[in-house]
């Protein structure tokens, strides 16, 4: 049984050209992100930070949904468990915040492994429902195990360390963490391992007949996805300073999935667009009306009907269409 290596040693010429074309855009985006706090108010910077954190959650979901072809509805629970463990370690046990966050990430990864072990055999709608059910079990535990989780009151954090206490420095700290995380996820989904996942997404039976260990790949993908969701949960602890059962409930998983879908399932970076869109939209809508739930529902429906590939996915399609049109024009001697 073959398993693909996780890191890519090869770089084809095509990949190198793509990378050098992308580099200036990446630099531009990073500069824009770095400059953002200078043109936004302090509160708006905290919104931007929130977008960055939830982009990581959405990307972690995209690894499974977009690249492995398994759409999960339980990542909110994995995300939230990381927060719970970190805050429990610091507030209840009086431990160090960084160790707490590390423990949270470990806990999230372990939980993802448990979810994965149970869910691997399923796919499609059944996978969705199973992860949903597992997420609900976690929620039930967080709600009822009052001695540890504080029950419906939740747990309060101990605040941020002084050097990232204000919104702007915290924003930069999160940016400094999220950028390499994004790079790591990007490399992962474009590595041979990622390519194998995509093969599994497109045709599981073919990959099996080719000798790939499909369950192992899916298991690893889920665990890695859980790891990143856990990191997002750790950042969330620093951001929110509070965790409650609503952090792990189904709506968190739905929200993360919607962000990934809005940006574009399978694009990875689309998650940033999706997270920004949903969070900014929520802020804007809530200022005028309490009907956010309807707006969210309508958005969901419209995306599913008209743009299931999301914003970035749609942009890519249009770009590809234009490029093929111009290349056929060139070829036909225009």
């Amino acid at each position: 049984m073959r398993t693909a290596p996780l890191s890519a040693a090869s770089t084809s010429p095509e990949l190198q050209i793509r990378r050098s074309r992308a580099l200036p855009w990446i630099a531009l985006v990073l500069v824009a992100l770095a400059v953002l706090p200078m043109i936004l108010s302090s509160y708006q910077v905290s919104i931007a930070t929130q977008v960055l954190i939830f982009s990581v959650l959405a990307m972690s979901i995209d690894i499974l949904a977009g690249f492995a072809g398994r759409t999960p509805l339980g990542h909110g629970a994995i995300f939230g468990v990381s927060s719970y463990v970190a805050i429990y370690w610091t507030s209840t046990m009086g431990g160090d915040i960084w160790i707490g966050i590390a423990l949270g990430v470990v806990a999230a990864t372990a939980l993802a492994a448990v979810f994965a072990a149970l869910a691997i055999r399923t796919s499609g709608v059944y996978f969705l429902l199973l992860t949903l059910a597992l997420g609900m079990i976690v929620w039930g535990v967080c709600l009822r195990w009052t001695a540890v989780t504080g029950g419906e009151n939740g747990l309060r954090g101990i605040g941020r360390p002084a050097f990232i206490a204000d919104h702007v420095s915290f924003y930069y700290a999160v940016l400094v963490v999220v950028a390499p995380l994004t790079w790591a996820m990007w490399r992962l989904v474009h590595s041979p391992f990622g390519l194998t996942l995509r093969g599994i997404r497109d045709s599981e039976s073919r990959m099996r007949s080719l000798g790939y260990n499909v369950p192992l790949h899916l298991f690893l993908a889920f665990v890695v996805s859980g790891f990143f969701a856990g990191v997002a949960g750790g950042l969330y602890v620093l951001f929110n300073n509070f965790v409650s059962p609503s952090t792990v409930q189904l709506s968190q998983s739905v929200s993360g999935l919607l962000m990934a879908i809005t940006g574009g399932i399978g694009t990875l970076l689309g998650s940033f667009v999706g997270a920004a869109a949903i969070i900014v939209l929520e802020n804007a809508v809530s200022a005028y009306t309490a009907r956010w739930q309807s707006v969210l529902g309508v958005t969901f429906v419209l995306i599913m009907i008209f743009a299931p590939e999301g914003v970035v996915g749609r942009a890519r399609l249009l770009l590809a269409r234009r490029r093929s049109r111009s290349s056929t024009q060139r070829r036909s001697g225009g």
């Binding site: 531009l28 400059v35 200078m38 043109i39 936004l40 108010s41 302090s42 509160y43 708006q44 905290s46 009822r144 009052t146 029950g151 419906e152 009151n153 939740g154 309060r156 605040g159 929110n240 509070f242 409650s244 609503s246 952090t247 802020n283 809530s286 309490a290 956010w292 739930q293």
Partner: protein
């Protein structure tokens, strides 16, 4: 134009544009409006109560001409969606983006606690007419959190327990929602009841949103209690009262309850099954007091329903804080003076019908009414007073310092005195 200049120009244009849009509030002139952030659950499981919080609050401001202390008042309403994470997010938005001068509201205890913890860090005045978590004005007192028009959970069940003992009841079975609010109300009742010679023959805790009370009612029926005390809110209250009647217990054992159990928000859609339940509160909408009936009439004319606890308490809270704002001529920016003044303000003429004032811990002292559900002249159910306990504080007859040495009420500690 090369790329670098393009970027620079675009960047500057964007900066100029967003700079204008996001200009932070510069020095606030004295005649700038006072901004109040009201958070209420407009969606989620307690949305009906949230609606009434907003209605009661707005009704006061309308009647006051939307001004206080000589300044205009702006109310910004945010939905806390009946959950603490959202409440926290909205509190941040109100304080940091909308720059409100004070926060008001919230309904569920866990949302209130999350917001209270947040304002502890930045000193924003936070008034909570409905959040009843005991410790916010006891062991974990936060100085800028004040229960204007509010009460602590264990405050009212104590006089009810005393009244029950006076009726001759000696054995109580208790059923309650299993969360802090329930623990505290039951603790207040149990401690007073047992200290007065009664006994708690059984306590049943059930998760919030229990649709089926039959397991508990079945067990209660077998306990030989003289009286049952039910601590229920919202849908659970409706279902418990209905099932208490449909299982035949209504005719066998008298039912006492926490005030939320027979609040208008519960009984206004109910029929005969809710008749005759005795509860205790800081008001009774059926009380024959001019201020109370005037408020009930104004509210019912406007909203076609008799006001509930949520409407009463937010109206009173707004009224109380306004009186303080008037005293300091609108200078709410001076937070220490503002908070001090609120605590020193008495409110003699609110819809509660009796004068009220604060104790030394930010919690009001009320004349508690023991009230019973009955039909009014229109055939609707409301609560009418049958007894009064004057000047009840959150500490009942205990000395505050000694009282606070005992642990807070929880599922494991109910203050029950062993015989």
């Amino acid at each position: 134009m090369d790329r670098r200049r393009f970027l620079k120009t675009t960047g500057l244009t964007l900066a100029a544009g967003t700079g204008v849009l996001s200009a932070p509030f510069v020095a606030r002139a004295q005649n700038a409006p006072i901004r109040i952030g009201l958070m209420a659950p407009q969606t989620g499981v307690v949305a009906a109560g949230g609606r009434e919080i907003i209605d009661g609050f707005s009704l006061f401001w309308e009647s006051a001409g939307n001004q206080a202390g000589g300044r205009k008042v702006e109310i910004l309403v945010e939905d806390d969606a009946s959950n603490p994470d959202t409440a926290l997010q909205k509190a941040r938005r109100l304080v940091e983006q909308a720059k409100v001068d004070m926060l008001f509201g919230n309904l569920l205890a866990n949302t209130g606690l999350a917001v209270a913890n947040y304002v502890k860090g930045n000193g924003t005045p936070y008034f909570i007419p409905v959040i009843a978590a005991d410790d916010l004005t006891q062991r974990a007192r936060i100085k800028n959190v004040i229960r204007a028009g509010g009460y602590s959970a264990s405050q009212f069940p104590r006089p009810l327990a005393d009244w029950a003992l006076k009726q001759g009841y000696r054995k109580v079975a208790m059923i309650s929602q299993d969360y802090t609010f329930g623990h505290e109300q039951c603790g207040g009742f149990a401690q007073t009841f047992t200290e007065g010679g009664g006994a708690v023959v059984g306590q049943f805790w059930h998760p919030l949103n229990t649709s089926d009370f039959s397991p508990y009612l079945g067990q209660i029926a077998g306990l030989n209690a003289d009286v049952v005390f039910a601590m229920e809110t919202g849908a659970d209250a409706t279902r418990l009262i209905q099932q208490y009647a449909s299982f035949g217990l209504k005719d066998q054992i008298p039912l006492l309850g926490a005030q939320n159990a027979t609040d208008q928000s519960v009984i206004r859609t109910m029929g005969a099954e809710c008749e005759g339940i005795v509860t205790s509160a800081h008001f009774a909408e059926g009380a024959d007091l001019p201020a109370t009936q005037a408020f009930v009439k104004t509210y019912s004319d406007k909203f076609s329903k008799i006001p509930s606890l949520y409407a009463f308490s937010h109206y009173v809270g707004a009224m109380w804080v306004t009186k303080a704002i008037n005293t300091i001529n609108g200078k709410v920016e001076d937070r220490d003076t503002f908070l001090e003044t609120v605590l020193k303000t008495d409110l003699p003429d609110s819809p509660l019908g009796k004068p009220v004032r604060f104790d030394d811990y930010g919690n009001p002292i009320y004349d508690v009414v023991i009230r019973k559900t009955a039909k009014n002249k229109d055939g609707k159910f409301w609560n009418v007073p049958i007894a009064t306990y004057p000047q009840v504080s959150q500490f009942w007859k205990y000395d505050p310092v000694t009282y606070m040495k005992q642990p807070p009420y929880s599922r494991d500690f109910q203050g029950i005195k062993k015989a």
